[in-house]
């Protein structure tokens, strides 16, 4: 559709603009304000310029947390994207079965995030949880509260359980949009299943996959509640991800200046990487 140039459209957009500006700009300005000040108490603040930023970037605790976060998000994408595509390919195209599948698969997405943590907290325990008990019965020594690797794997498993449905549902919508004629032509052209996936389905999934990758990266990078409820960040700080580190700093320790500087860097990292992903995928598309 050709859009008509008309600046009066701003009236329609104004409510959104004001609402989001209120919710976003004012707090952001506060954060920027704090990030350049050393605050000892109400009314006792000194301007320190970029000192906080320098400290934050050099802080080992934060660097560790950042690395942990990247590793986590990396695994999340590696597992959830192919798995989600696979699930979408298995779902029935239409009819009652299709709707039923849709609803059942969406269930993990409807659960409040703290309940997700609670479910897995219970489920993975060796004494009262089916999963924990089951793994131990198989002879494997499994304890997610005591062992770092077990904690990591459990958090990862929980996230896969929680969010793969989102990737699956997005890919399902992309697949549904493919007209039947393409499958018919491929059948007549005697294409193998792999060729059908590669030449018909995958190209058409590109746009949904961009959304899926972006969403999963961003949300996993900002994850807080689920691992917090599940492991509390432990054992030690092995499952303490960036948001938890920041929250502890800001609310727990009330270290406002440092927290503010960290917040800005955090936000910038997310924006930067999202932009990188987005550009990389859309350019790769154009080049070919």
């Amino acid at each position: 559709m050709d859009k008509i140039p008309d600046n009066r459209a701003w009236w329609l957009v104004l409510p959104v603009f004001l609402l989001v500006a209120f919710s976003a700009l004012i707090p952001l300005m506060t954060v920027v304000n704090y990030s350049v000040q050393d605050i000892f108490g109400p009314g006792q603040a000194y301007y320190v310029g970029t000192e906080w930023f320098k400290e934050v970037l050099a802080d080992e605790r934060l660097q560790d947390s950042l690395i942990r976060q990247f590793v986590f998000s990396g695994f999340v994408l590696l597992i959830q994207i192919p798995l989600g595509i696979g699930v979408a390919l298995m779902m029935p195209k239409s009819g009652i079965k299709g709707s039923l599948c849709l609803i059942l698969i969406a269930i993990p997405l409807l659960i409040p995030w703290n309940v997700v943590g609670t479910i897995w907290q219970i489920f993975a325990r060796g004494d009262i949880g089916l999963f924990g008990w089951g793994i131990n019965q198989l002879g494997i020594d499994y304890n997610y509260t005591g062992d770092t690797l077990d904690a990591w794997l459990t958090v990862l498993l929980m996230d896969v359980w929680h969010w793969t449905p989102l990737v699956a549902l997005l890919c399902y919508s992309g697949l549904r949009a493919i007209p039947e004629a393409f499958y018919q032509a491929a059948e007549i052209d005697r294409a193998s299943k792999w060729a059908v996936f590669r030449y018909i389905q995958l190209p058409r999934l590109k746009s949904v996959l961009i959304i899926a990758v972006l969403l999963r990266f961003m949300d996993s990078f900002m994850i807080y509640i689920e691992p917090f409820v599940l492991t509390g960040g432990g054992p030690g700080s092995s499952t303490t991800f960036l948001s938890q580190t920041l929250t502890t700093m800001a609310i727990g320790q009330f270290d406002l200046g440092r927290a503010a500087a960290f917040s800005l860097i955090y936000f910038l990292i997310v924006l930067l990487i999202s932009w990188l992903f987005f550009t990389a995928i859309t350019h790769a598309d154009k080049e070919k």
Partner: protein
């Protein structure tokens, strides 16, 4: 290349059909012979696409059999029937180049690379897209995309048959003409069974040796364009073929013939005999506008009618006349002149006056 036979074929899209209205294809027996160029002609909704999809295997018929060279293929999938089909709208693999699109069916059939290159080149030249071979398929115009789509259907050398489902729908009119000729050329060159579905009688006549006209789920006539024109087997064929179509008039039995209103049309004795034997009240006569003669003077064989309208179409004219309460169209040369409401004298040569009982043509048993 195969002979395709449809035996006692019927198809309904609903699970539990209750009556003839639920059937897209009704009792059908038909043979497409090897190497022929055929058209499947009919209006929208008559079942042509259904028939095509049954032949290619995209649909399994609810009743009846599909036989390739005598062997039943109902259970075989399209890939096992070795059929090529071209759809109405371009269906191309947009992530591939034109070359890769055309090569795709050949690669899937494990044709050696050298042969692939030669064949793709051949087809691209015939369709006049060889200069676009290395372009991405998604960047082409709609015409070009459809050519690629058609090319994929033509590129395989060992197919049983090639089926075309109204493939020129999205093409520009000038290009349509060119492509139709090309398809005919390809058929003569490669001698493969081709079935071409269309609702355009002109397209059907230019492409096909023989045309199957479909109406309401049945093939009502299968013949050459001339046969369809001169001896339409069904009132629908009469009406559909020709521009304008046949004049069809409802009549009743009268002494030695049929009549409508005050007009009496005498019939041959064999026709009268048949009428006596059949009890149906659904009687029609048909005569093409091309065959009604207008003479300046009255005689025993003529009927008086009044001119209602004259359409001048350049090299010929269509005259609408009124005989009794019935309007008829007559085709005349460009020199014909008459004024509105003036009387004219029509005659209906016996060999062109067709009698239809229950919509089907009554013919002399030889």
């Amino acid at each position: 290349m195969a002979e395709i036979q449809l035996k006692a074929l019927a198809h309904s899209y609903s699970d539990r059909p209750t009556g003839p209205d639920d059937y897209a294809i009704r009792q059908l027996d038909h043979v497409w012979h090897k190497g022929g160029a055929y058209a499947l002609l009919g209006p929208s909704g008559c079942g042509k696409s259904t028939m095509l999809n049954i032949i290619s295997g995209l649909i399994q018929p609810s009743e009846g059999e599909v036989l390739f060279d005598g062997k039943r293929v109902n259970e075989l999938s399209p890939r096992d029937r070795n059929i090529a089909q071209v759809f109405q709208f371009p269906v191309i693999y947009d992530s591939m180049t034109v070359y890769e699109n055309l090569a795709f069916p050949l690669k899937n059939n494990k044709v050696p690379a050298s042969r692939i290159k030669a064949r793709v080149q051949e087809i691209a030249e015939v369709l006049e897209i060889e200069d676009k071979l290395y372009k991405k398929a998604r960047n082409l115009t709609a015409d070009e995309k459809q050519k690629v789509s058609m090319g994929r259907g033509l590129v395989r050398e060992d197919v049983s048959a090639i089926l075309f489902d109204e493939p020129l729908t999205v093409i520009d009119p000038q290009l349509k003409w060119k492509l139709r000729r090309k398809l005919k050329q390809i058929h003569e060159q490669f001698d493969i069974t081709m079935v071409y579905v269309t609702h355009d009688q002109l397209e059907a006549s230019t492409f096909a040796d023989r045309i199957a006209v479909m109406y309401d789920g049945q093939v009502v006539q299968f013949g050459t364009p001339t046969e369809l024109f001169e001896a339409p087997n069904h009132t629908f064929v009469g009406y559909f073929i020709g521009s304008p179509g046949m004049n069809i008039v409802e009549v009743e039995r009268c002494s030695d013939g049929v009549c409508f209103g005050a007009t009496v049309l005498p019939l041959d004795s064999w026709q009268v005999d048949i009428l006596k034997r059949m009890t149906s009240g659904n009687l029609k006569i048909g005569i093409r506008p091309e065959f009604i003669e207008i003479s300046p003077i009255a005689s025993d064989d003529t009927y008086e009618a009044n001119v209602r309208d004259i359409e001048d179409l350049g090299t010929y004219k269509i005259v609408t006349v009124q005989l009794g309460a019935q309007e008829l169209k007559v085709r005349q040369g460009e020199e014909f002149e008459a004024s509105i409401d003036s009387p004219v004298h029509l005659s209906f040569p016996k060999q062109w006056l067709m009698l239809y009982v229950d919509e089907f043509l009554v013919q002399e048993q030889q």
